[in-house]
């Protein structure tokens, strides 16, 4: 299954990647090679096989809902590219 330029740009937008023109060309070809290789999974008829999401047989680890110490605000914001007061500062809205 090959993906065309339009699909590639749509996927890039879903992944919030602004690909440059040279990347669209380079990655586009490579992605099609990779998708062709991984399509091999469809060769097997596995309609009766359950999926595995996790390799260990552990389920539902519950914890008590108790407040615990958390990072102080200054530490939580220590790596912020931009900060204003106790907030992470980002550029304004723009269309999604």
């Amino acid at each position: 299954m090959a993906i065309d330029r339009e699909q590639l740009l749509k996927v890039a937008h879903l992944a919030r990647l602004e690909l440059r023109e040279d990347e669209v060309e380079r990655l586009g070809g490579q992605l099609n090679d990779i998708l062709e290789a991984v399509s091999k999974v469809s060769e097997l008829d596995l309609s009766d096989v359950p999926p595995t999401a996790h390799p260990l047989d552990v389920v539902n680890v519950w914890g008590e809902d108790e407040p615990r110490p958390c990072l102080p605000v200054d530490e939580a914001l220590a790596n912020a590219p931009e900060r204003e007061g106790n907030f992470f500062k980002v550029p304004p809205g723009g269309a999604a």
């Binding site: 992944a15 919030r16 602004e18 290789a37 999974v41 097997l44 390799p55 590219p81 304004p92």
Partner: protein
Amino acid sequence: MIDTLRLTAEAAKGLLDSREISGAELFAAYRAAIDDRDDELHCYLHLCDDPGGDGLPIALKDVIGTKGIPTTAGSKILEGYIPVYDSTVVERLKMHGLRILGKTNTDEFAMGSSTENSAYGPSHNPWDPSRVPGGSGGGSAAAVSAGLAPWALGSDTGGSIKQPSALCGNVGLRPTYGTVSRYGIVAFASSLDQVGPVARTVRDCAYLYSIIAGRDERDTTTVELPHPVELPQAAELRGLRVGVPKELNEAEGIEPGVSAAVRAAIAKLEELGAEVGECSLPLSVEHGMACYYLITPAEASSNLARYDGVRYGFRADADERLEMYERTRDEGFGDEPKRRIMVGTYALSAGYYDAYYGQAQKVRTVIKREHDALFETFDVLVSPTSPTVAFPLGARTADPIAMYLSDLLTIPSCMAGLPGLNVPCGLSEGLPVGLQLIGPQFSENTLFRIGHALELAVGFDPVPERLR
């Protein structure tokens, strides 16, 4: 004079305990070795000053979060990021007095098999600097081989501990999924990621594993070890049943020299008393790669969504927020994370989910069942770790699929959540060959026992010939 090339962690601990050397002298000896050789090898991305104390030094792959010490995961998008907390494994190392020498190079976000995907340039193989050290944890493996650390931690999703250990000639363990906490580790594919030790001997590897393993309430995928870690002693293997899966030992692309060294090692296992028999993993090897390269990109596309320029790391200039996200991610990620994010986003998108990700999860069940069935007959499986010895820098960078095939033999058991130990078993063309031992979940003690006996029987010299 401390010869860091020959010193095992166990021997170093003996020297410290008997006060023949001080902790400061030991740390300084590794720093001197790094000053001597790391310009050529580029194992380290960041070096730490001696924090004092008398514990052993250790190197950490740069996906392991360290409080106050830069942690980049080999990516530009984490440039300048300094964690404000320690990962659980680092807390445990510090509790045992271990001192961090520095952070080692890795393929970006641990995605790769050569370190050539690092945004900070590749590491070089100590046996031949024109060749790769393997990856993604090539920096840790090369540092241990070149005497730039007595031991190190790596992380392994589809072979990132075992494969570089094979290519650099040291011992590396990918532990059973769930035995080592990932709290504070940069996530790649969470249903596979595991932290594990890289060392010069199996005993050192087992000891380091005993320090880091065990349940952590901050990583709810972890479990308590069913039995304590035992340091291997015995040099005989009577009663052990060793399976040789045909597909893992005869796969296309395995070099004759690799095959010969592994066969000779299997003969040694027999001499040591093990019963060896042929067996088969018909679907696991044939479909493992495709399964892995759907599941891991899907999980990566989700895990890497957090790098958006808002809270930490790199941010690109932009006037609007959406533009800021997209530009930050385009400029911050290299090609390999982009490829995987794109494949993963596509495989998870509406209309393709069942055909790709859903189907891959079913293949994963098939792989797990095939392995489980073999462990009714065998205690352990053996094969080459890597189809080839260390390859030249640049040989596979233009062809992502050729690079992916580096992990052909390590991927199936990772998909099944099984532990695997790489043990050096000889040379081919003057370069190390590694053998992997794969066991059922929680069989680390068995792997250590066999690996230790094999190590003694083979007598592999882990010091690169050109450094002797």
